[in-house]
């Protein structure tokens, strides 16, 4: 699998608080990579730096073979990188989901919009203003925008956040299909059941740096990750899930 996106030696501090010191991750076409780590470990910052939304203090980002000290967000987005942040919605509350999709299709061409909305269970809210959507509907609407874009690389920060289990299953399948079509998917999230099932490779973000964990089995077998991230209770549950 070819590497589409690579962030190397990335460091970032916010007003003296060091979040990242020397982080590295790469995303390959057709694969789902999960960045795991505790709250405040720098996962979201790393994704924002990769998308050009935050300027790194040092390090570089490589996207589609081109190296950037600071990628320009508009430029990499136009080239096929799509960032789905968690702290701000990408949808304007003053427009309907349909109006957002109209704009997207005008920019990047038409896609199978109706089928996608049906699949994500949000076809009935297409004409509803985004301000009136529930948290779960909004998240699925954002995922719909990302999927309709057909990006080369999708950076999804906590795509399962606020989504109920039944819909999370749909979102998970949609992201899996996107990867199958050749998109490099990078995601974060604490919903271990969904993330473990979906991702092919895992990277642990801790102490400002990153540590590759390997595939699902290797990740669950990593004693330090189990002890420091999963905690005692969830370990048995996840091990059972993995065994099944």
């Amino acid at each position: 699998m070819s590497v589409v996106l690579r962030a190397d030696s990335v460091g970032k501090a916010f007003r003296g608080r060091v979040v990242l010191t020397s982080a590295y991750f790469e995303a390959a076409a057709g694969e789902v990579t999960a960045l795991m780590g505790r709250n405040g470990s720098g996962k979201s910052t790393l994704l924002k730096i990769a998308a050009g939304w935050v300027r790194p203090d040092h390090g570089f980002v490589e996207f589609l073979g081109r190296r950037y000290l600071r990628p320009r967000p508009g430029k990499v987005a136009a080239a096929g990188l799509f960032h789905l942040p968690v702290d701000r919605s990408i949808l304007s509350p003053h427009f309907t989901l349909g109006e957002h999709l109209d704009a997207l299709e005008k920019r990047f061409g038409r896609g199978e919009r109706r089928a996608l909305l049906e699949r994500l269970g949000i076809a009935r809210v297409e004409a509803v203003r985004c301000a009136a959507l529930s948290g779960g509907e909004r998240r699925r609407a954002e995922v719909a925008v990302a999927l309709l874009r057909r990006p080369v690389c999708l950076l999804a920060d906590e795509p399962f956040r606020g989504v109920d289990p039944k819909d999370a299953e749909v979102v998970q399948a949609a992201l899996r299909d996107l990867a199958r079509e050749g998109c490099a998917v990078v995601l974060t999230g604490h919903e271990m059941g969904w993330v473990l099932e979906l991702a092919d490779r895992f990277v642990w973000v801790r102490d400002g740096s990153t540590q590759p964990l390997g595939d699902r089995g290797e990740t669950l077998a990593h004693w330090r990750f189990r002890r420091e991230y999963l905690g005692v209770r969830s370990q048995d549950t996840l091990s059972r899930l993995h065994d099944d």
């Binding site: 701000r88 949808l91 304007s92 427009f95 109006e99 109209d102 704009a103 005008k106 920019r107």
Partner: protein
């Protein structure tokens, strides 16, 4: 140019309304200070730059509050293009007024 259904109209309308408001304030302010524009509606070049700048910044703040900047960024339109788009109507109108005043 950002040419998108719904979004372009929204950005331009807001830009236009802000320009009208800022222009009205400048004109009324000048008259109140006892220096009415001569010829009518014309203002010094520095004031034109200020008006266009204010229109762009106010438009950008609104776009940010309405999350339009995030969506446009996902579509490949960065902050520079957004600011340019917001400043464009004010710039064209000021140019138009400047040319009309010289005729």
């Amino acid at each position: 140019m950002i040419l998108l259904p719904h979004f372009t109209r929204s950005l331009l309308t807001r830009s236009l309304v802000t320009w009208l408001f800022v222009r009205a304030v400048v004109t009324v302010g000048s008259a109140a200070l006892g220096v009415p524009p001569d010829p009518p509606f014309s203002i010094p070049p520095l004031a034109v730059v200020l008006v266009v700048g204010i229109v762009a910044v106010v438009g950008w703040v609104y776009a940010r509050r309405r999350n339009e900047d995030q969506f446009l960024l996902c579509l490949g339109y960065g902050p520079v293009r957004l600011l340019g788009m917001l400043a464009l109507p004010a710039l064209l109108l000021e140019l138009g007024i400047g040319i009309a005043a010289r005729l």
